[in-house]
Every structure is written in structure tokens, then in C-alpha cells.
Amino acid sequence: MTGIPRSVLSLRGLAKSYGATVAVESLSLEVARGELVCLLGPSGCGKTTTLRMVAGFVSPTAGEIWIEGKPVAREPPHQRDVGMVFQHYALFPHLSVADNVAFGLVNIGMPRAERQARVSEMLAMVELADLAHRMPRELSGGQQQRVALARALALRPAVLLLDEPLSNLDSRLRIRMREEIHSLIRRLEMTTVFVTHDQEEAMALADRIVVMHRGRVEQVGSPDQIYEAPTSRFVAEFIGLCSLLEATVTDVRADTLVVQTSGGVTLVLRRPAVRVTQGESVVAVIRPEHVTPASGGLANQLTGRVLSSTYLGSLSRHRLLVSGEELLMECHAGTLSGVRPGADIKIAIDPARPCVLVTDPRR
């Protein structure tokens, strides 16, 4: 409207502590209209506490919460313009599917005819129109999930909050529901905050991922930024597989760095955005797919001994020992099919792809 993109949800210095225990330590985040942001982290990292503060179930120790330009941190949950899907769905067991969806509409006093139209619209949206008169206990997990979603969206909230909504489904259903939720949220252009501990889920759904660890934000970025360019050892290890090689910078060039690993291997790597000086300690984050069987001409040619190999269908994963350091490699299953543990193979590390972390002495 004003041309300036205004955040729908804005968290400013949000913090929560229980006595001496800090659950969330000064979190700031702007969520744009229609954006899908994922709070990702291991259990106890503060992601659920953050979500519950936005919903109003937990009162922050400090900080502000703004929804659609209105400060709500001191407002009770029923006066906040958010819809929430709970981990265990929290459907009202005494109400039918239709009545569950209508629950919020009744609370705001919507006239009956309009309410019925909205409920039908919502149930059609999640493809549950035939089950309107069932009770929640008669539904499968996936159906309950969709009722929970329809119920949360019926009030057309400014922000949709999802608390680990897929964690109770079996793996096949989880992927299907993930895609359904994703396309629904996209279609409605819902501003959404999603909590999960599952990095694959975060990668698949989010526009932006907020990686949290011990109540702190470790990194905020798009899924590919988080994966390709982690800014901390924690993020590198939490998202995807990687080998971390401790190294010392021996030369800084225009676009590249030359480092020597603690095992004595010399590698040429892409120069990071942060300033690096010669002699500095760094960590090279090497994803399994950055390591390939050697084919002439590439830099970073090395010899590795195969420790073990795992067949993963389309891929195979190999644990290698290179100058005393372990390195993971993933390649197409056929490429190294004959290789046995104990064999020595030639490999190369693509210099453009690994990310270099500057070791922070405070960590």
C-alpha cells in the first residue's frame, strides 16, 4: 500500500527465561506478507517457546511482538490475529468436524448463514466435505491434521502458526501432507511460521529458515544459503551431512584460499565473504556431494582409503580416510560399485563448493 514492504509479524528482542534458565535469548525476526518462515532446531532450542509467545500462551520476559502493525505482546491469546495448528492437533473431541471448524466463527459471533458457507468453503479446501459430520476420533491422522488446518484458517488469521504439525504422521503420509500444506499456504498466500526439528521438512517448505540453538538464533537464511553457506559449525552439522576439516590458512588469493588441514592435506577452496588472514584457523565444511571420484584436471586431487560403503538406492555413501581424517563422499550408486572397504581410491574436492568457516575463538 505504501510501497514499503511491511512485516506482518515482527519480533523484536523477544526473550523468555524461566528463573535462571534462558529459553529464548533476544530473538528478532521480521516475517513479510505471504512468507513461510521455519524455526528449526533440536528440541529445547527455544523454537516452540517462541511460537507459543507469538500465540500468546507464554508471556515473554522481554521484547515486543507486532502483528499487522499492532503490538500484541501483552494481549491475551484470544485477541491476537493468529491461527494455530497444534502438534497433536487438539481437535475438540466433543464436536463434529464441521463444528470444530466453526468453533472460532461462533466465538466472534458470525451469523449462521455466513458461518455455514465459510465452514463448507474450508472443508472443501482441505477436501473433507464428505466428513463434515464425523467426530474427530473417527478420522485418520492425516484427516485430523487437515481439520486442524481448516479450523485454524477459518478465521482468516493474519499469521498461521504450525507447531511440528507433521511429527505425528508416518513417513509417507508426512511427505504428502507436507506438499498439501505447502501448496495450500502458497495458494492462500498465508504468512506462516512453522516449527520443526526436521531439517528436510524445513528445507522443503520454508522461504526462510531460522536455525535456533540453545535459545539463540544461529543463522537466518534461505534453505540454500543455510545449506551451502552455514555460518557456524552448529548449522553446518545440523543441516545435512558434512565433514568438518580443521585447517590453517596458508595463502589468500583473489577468489580462493589455500589451507592446510591438520592432517597435512593442502586444499584450494572458495574464499568466504568474511575477512580471512593468513595463518588463521578455519574449518572447511565439505558436503558428501562435494567429493567426487577423481577425473583429471580438477584441483584438490587426493587419495582416500575406503572405510565403509552404504548403498542408498540411487546413491551410495562412502566413508573415506584421507591423511588421517574422515571424509564422507556420496556418488551415483553405479560409479564406485566394485569398491571394497580397504581399497585406495583417487578422489577430488570441488574447490568452488565447500564453505569455509572462520573459527571463532569464543565458540
Binding site: 497433536h88 487438539a90 481437535l91 475438540f92 466433543h94 468453533f103 466465538n107 479450523r151 478465521l155
Partner: protein, 264 residues
């Protein structure tokens, strides 16, 4: 092997039936002997007559005390629910100093011998000037039934999924709407089961009522107890059968409303 299994099955069957019979027999004997043509209580009954029921219905003391007991049980149940439910909620949900003590005090009437409770109540009510009044009797019966409400409602609240309340709140429900539209409907089986316990306990209580009821305020169990001191005719059995019928009626009514299986 098979022999041993068959023996075990037979043995548990016998024990089970002994328990069933032991539980059901006393009330059955009372009901049966209420139809006896004899002028004294006897089992098995001799002949069949409904005359004793007619006599009971004609007896003003019995009918008055039946009415009193019913009124008392209903009023005490309602008040115990109104006092006990918030108390249970506080015990389950809040952490406050003296919580354990409050919990112990609320459950005490269940473990303190009734005679002790009765003497205590008599003194307190006399001091308050409420002895031998209906209000005094109600207070005593609320004290008597409160532990049942607190225990049953605490159990229901403990099992209640808090995220349902949160879901309601995030769906714009004001606190009063949360209570009316989510909390109460889901806790209803607990409320009904507490009501049954209260009603039956109050309706059948004799110790407290015997101490506190004088003059016109004689409850049915006390009336029966007094009656048995000077006569032993089947009117007793007929009245006792009425007590059983009222109790069963309450339980069946609640069962129809909520379903006993969901309730207990």
C-alpha cells in the same frame, strides 16, 4: 497342562461368582422380603403382597424423611460441585503455598471416622447457631461429599489436554467461552460421576444425620434406623427398597446422560 488351565478357569469363575453374589445378595434379600405376607421381616418371603409399600406410602414420617433426604442430597450435591470443582482446578493447575495442606484438608472427611466428623460438626454448627436447621444439615453433607467432588474432578482435570484450551483461546474464545464451550462439555462425564458419588453418599448417610437431625429434620436412613428399634415389620424392607430404587434411578439417569463407561 490343559487340566490345570481348566481348573484355574473354573476356580476363578467360582471366586468371581461368589463376589457377585456377595455384593448383590443383601439388597436382593431386602427387596424380596418387602413382599412377604408375614408381619415380621423374613427371608425367603412367605406369599406376596404390596401392602407394606402402601403402609410406607401412608406413613407421614417415612414420606417426609424421604423428601428431606432427596432435597438434602440434591442441594448438597450442587453445592459440593460448585465449591469442589474450582478447588480441584486450583489443586491441579496452580502452585501455591499450602497447596498440599489444602488438598489434605479437602480429602480429610473421607478418612476421618464419620463419628468424629459428626461430633465436630455438631459443635461447630451449635456454635454458629445452625444446629438442627436444614442449613446446618446441608453444610454437614457438603463437608461429607466434598472429597468425592475434589477427587473425581481433580482426576478429570489431570487428564484434560491443556492444548484444547489453548486451541480454543487461539480461536478467539474468551475465558468464559473456553469454560462453557470446551472445559465443561469435556469434563461433563467427570461432573456427572462426581454428582452420583455425592448424591449416593449424602442420601445414604446415617452417622452425620443422626447427630445433627432432631425434631422435624429426620433423614430417611435415620428414620429407618429409629424404626428398627421398636418394630421389625416388612415396612422397613419396603422403605429400604425405595432407597435402593432412588439410588439406582440416579445412577441410571446419569448413565443415560453420559454413559458409565465414559464416566468411570
Amino acid at each position: 497342562m490343559l487340566g490345570r488351565q481348566a481348573f484355574l478357569r473354573a476356580a476363578t469363575g467360582i471366586v468371581r461368582w461368589c463376589v457377585y453374589v456377595g455384593l448383590a445378595l443383601p439388597p436382593l434379600i431386602v427387596v424380596a422380603s418387602s413382599f412377604s405376607r408375614t408381619t415380621f421381616l423374613t427371608f425367603p418371603p412367605k406369599g406376596f403382597t404390596l401392602a407394606w409399600y402402601w403402609r410406607a406410602a401412608q406413613s407421614q414420617p417415612f414420606m417426609q424423611s424421604l423428601l428431606l433426604s432427596t432435597e438434602l442430597a440434591i442441594v448438597a450435591t450442587v453445592l459440593a460441585l460448585l465449591v469442589g470443582t474450582p478447588a480441584a482446578a486450583a489443586i491441579v493447575r496452580r502452585r501455591f503455598p499450602g497447596r498440599e495442606a489444602v488438598q489434605a484438608a479437602l480429602l480429610a472427611p473421607m478418612v476421618v471416622p464419620l463419628v468424629v466428623l459428626a461430633i465436630g460438626l455438631l459443635q461447630v454448627l451449635t456454635w454458629l447457631g445452625l444446629a438442627q436447621t436444614f442449613a446446618g444439615l446441608v453444610i454437614a453433607h457438603v463437608v461429607l461429599t466434598l472429597p468425592y467432588v475434589v477427587r473425581t474432578m481433580a482426576a478429570s482435570l489431570m487428564l484434560f489436554d491443556r492444548s484444547l484450551e489453548e486451541a480454543a483461546m487461539s480461536l478467539r474464545a474468551r475465558p468464559s467461552q473456553v469454560i462453557r464451550r470446551v472445559l465443561l462439555p469435556i469434563l461433563l462425564p467427570g461432573v456427572l460421576s462426581a454428582s452420583v458419588f455425592c448424591f449416593v453418599t449424602s442420601f445414604g448417610n446415617i452417622t452425620l444425620s443422626a447427630f445433627l437431625a432432631r425434631g422435624g429434620l429426620v433423614t430417611l436412613p435415620v428414620q429407618i434406623f429409629t424404626y428398627v428399634e421398636h418394630s421389625y415389620d416388612p415396612v422397613l424392607a419396603a422403605v429400604s427398597t425405595l432407597v435402593i430404587v432412588v439410588t439406582l434411578a440416579v445412577i441410571l439417569l446419569v448413565e443415560r446422560l453420559a454413559g458409565l463407561d465414559r464416566m468411570l
